[in-house]
């Protein structure tokens, strides 16, 4: 290969005739054009310009030092809760702002000084450095292969089949210990995903006031969030339980309800639906009271609450589960059963 490269493009030839440009001809249509002729910078010729560059670089480095001192001074001097108005950022923390600006300036000026130094004062002559071959010498390769064959023969692996087979067996079985350890990642889910805290007779508690509700409290077009009776916010499993039991209550004029079962499971047009999206379980309560649509903010799944919360748009696969509600002897809204189907996103045993 090397014999085909034109002599004048080799580094040795280039050094003697720096700036010579290869010319394509019939014999060699893709001649390497080589490096362009080296041009001098003002700083290479003019010592005063070089001095100016030196001072600029030194100034940038000095500014960096001052900014670092400013950073330390700001950290010591400015109280952590001081708020100042700075356009266009608004009412910001004086300490955050001072630390950010001083650290930014000190890092930027180190970089800017280094770049200016490299561009104006360090040598800018381009060099060519040829790679050496990746392949090893033939003698070295032959030696390595001989050593390997010798080792394989001496281990008697090919001759003693019993050792070979049991070794493969041991290697195949050993990962099982890791698989068994996975069992201890946590208790099995069992049927927790199928049940919530709702059950027959549980009162619907208004999450804002913590009080049970009467049907007259829920007016048409309103939106209310309810939790099951007995679940309090300071309970240690509150988050686990409300994640399944969260409920939204709306009231729709009975003549606007399109689905018979929806109407029957509600009370005088008051409908109770799970607040957990059936796609990936985001809390979903972007309720439009004129269209009766609920929109999920995560992936825009849209459900029609007047029609059994059927999916009318988006990736959700199931309608939102509806809770059967009624009124107890004292006139408060209560659940008549748990949700009939698992709430929230689908899981593989759900079918």
């Amino acid at each position: 290969m090397s014999s085909q490269i034109p002599e004048e493009n080799l580094p040795a030839a280039q050094d003697t005739a720096h700036g010579a440009v290869g010319v394509a001809d019939e014999k060699n249509p893709f001649a390497d054009p080589g490096l362009p002729p080296h041009e001098h910078r003002r700083q290479d010729i003019d010592e005063r310009a070089a001095k100016r560059s030196e001072r600029t670089v030194a100034l940038l480095f000095t500014v960096s030092m001052l900014a670092t001192i400013g950073f330390i001074a700001a950290f010591v001097a400015i109280p952590v809760d001081k708020i100042v108005y700075i356009f266009p950022f608004g009412h910001v923390s004086a300490l955050n702002f001072a630390l950010g600006v001083t650290l930014g300036v000190s890092l930027f000026t180190i970089g800017a000084g280094a770049v200016h130094w490299a561009r104006t004062l360090m040598s800018d002559e381009e060099l060519t450095d040829e790679r050496h071959a990746i392949e090893a010498e033939p003698e070295v390769r032959a030696k390595v292969m001989d050593d390997f064959r010798q080792g394989a023969k001496e281990s008697q692996l090919g001759r003693r089949k019993l050792i070979r087979n049991t070794m493969f067996g041991a290697l195949a079985v050993v990962p099982l210990s890791g698989v068994v350890l996975l069992r201890e990642l946590g208790p099995l889910p069992e049927d927790k995903l199928r049940h919530t805290l709702w059950s027959k007779g549980k009162l619907l508690i208004n999450q804002n006031t913590g009080e049970p509700m009467r049907p007259s409290d829920i007016v048409t077009g309103s939106l209310t969030f309810a939790k099951p009776e007995g679940l309090e916010e300071h309970d240690h499993d509150f988050n686990n339980e409300i994640a399944k039991a969260a409920l939204m209550l709306v009231r729709i004029q009975p003549e606007d309800i399109k689905d018979k079962r929806t109407m029957e499971w509600g009370h005088e047009g008051i409908l109770a639906y799970s607040k957990i999206c059936t796609h990936v379980g985001c809390p979903i309560s972007l309720y439009e009271q004129q269209t009766h649509h609920v929109l999920c903010p995560c992936h825009q799944s849209t459900f029609d609450l007047s029609d059994g919360a059927k999916v009318i748009f988006g990736p959700a696969g199931h309608a939102l589960p509806q809770l059967r509600i009624g009124v107890n002897d004292e006139g408060y809204l209560e659940a008549l059963s748990d949700f009939e189907e698992p709430v929230g996103p689908a899981f593989w045993e759900r079918g």
Binding site: R42, Q207, T291, F313
Partner: protein
């Protein structure tokens, strides 16, 4: 009787009768005067309603019907209450343009507060509904901001964003930004549920709850909100912040690198 009759020609009789008549008139006046005053109040009220009815006939009747019964262009106003009128007209949403898009936007109010009060009085006279709240009901003074934040995140944040910056809904509808909205209008919006917003009546979100929510918004979403981080980029959360970092942060670095490499340091510019 005879005695009285005998003295009717007494020289002092005329004087006595005159005094009696004066006393009677004075007494009667004292008895009927409060009733007259009440009647005057009622007259003032009915004058306001009358005034509102005139404004209504000019500005609202073409869509909402001559008696507020609603038409195909606008809903019935019977029973919406004064609070709904004060909100819709006070935030400039009403009167709406004849062909609005998906949602009627907030704009500069067309009517003065006195005219709005007259309209509200007229609409309230059509059917009972929520009244305009008093300042003590919506003023953020003395409310629990932390509780307000909790209530806001549970009831409002799904549409209006966690600090009330607003957000998108379906088909071009949106929940508006709540920055520097008059506390009265926030209160009325919760009470009446304008357009597609559900209502949060006092029976499920108490007066004190509403006050707490208003105080929370006053704290986190107004011109004077303290924001230690600064440059909140719309307050929309990590997605917009990440996008800003990628586009302007990384873009800035690339631009500087290109600028450094493109400028030659050679004495002879080519």
């Amino acid at each position: 009787m005879k005695k009285l009759s005998a003295r009717r020609r007494h020289p002092a009789a005329a004087l006595v009768v005159l005094l009696l008549a004066l006393a009677c008139t004075g007494g009667l006046y004292a008895v009927f005067a409060p009733a007259d005053k009440a009647q005057a109040d009622e007259t003032a009220q009915s004058l306001t309603i009358e005034e509102g009815k005139k404004l209504y006939a000019v500005g609202c009747a073409s869509c909402h019907g001559t008696g507020g019964q609603g038409t195909s262009d606008g809903p019935s106003l019977v029973g919406v209450g004064a609070a709904a009128v004060d909100f819709q007209v006070g935030t400039g949403r009403m009167p709406a343009a004849t062909s609005q898009g998906a949602q009627i936007p907030r704009k500069k109010p067309v009517y003065t507060q006195a005219e709005i009060d007259a309209l509200a009085a007229y609409v309230a006279s059509l059917g009972a509904g929520p009244a305009i709240p008093a300042e003590s009901q919506y003023s953020p003074e003395g409310a629990d901001i932390a509780k307000g934040g909790e209530l806001f995140r549970n009831n409002c944040a799904q549409c209006h964003n966690f600090t009330g910056k607003g957000g998108a809904l379906t088909h071009g509808k949106y929940a508006p930004n709540l920055e520097d909205v008059d506390p009265k209008h926030i209160y009325e919006a919760m009470l009446t549920g304008p357009q597609n917003m559900p209502s949060f009546p006092d029976s499920t979100l108490s007066e004190q709850n509403k006050k707490d929510i208003i105080a929370y918004l006053d704290e986190v979403n107004s011109q004077d909100t303290e924001n230690p981080g600064g440059l909140e980029l719309g307050g929309l959360g990590p997605v917009s912040e990440g996008l800003f970092g990628w586009i302007f942060g990384l873009g800035g670095l690339i631009a500087v690198a290109v600028w450094v490499a493109a400028r030659t340091a050679k004495a002879k510019k080519s």
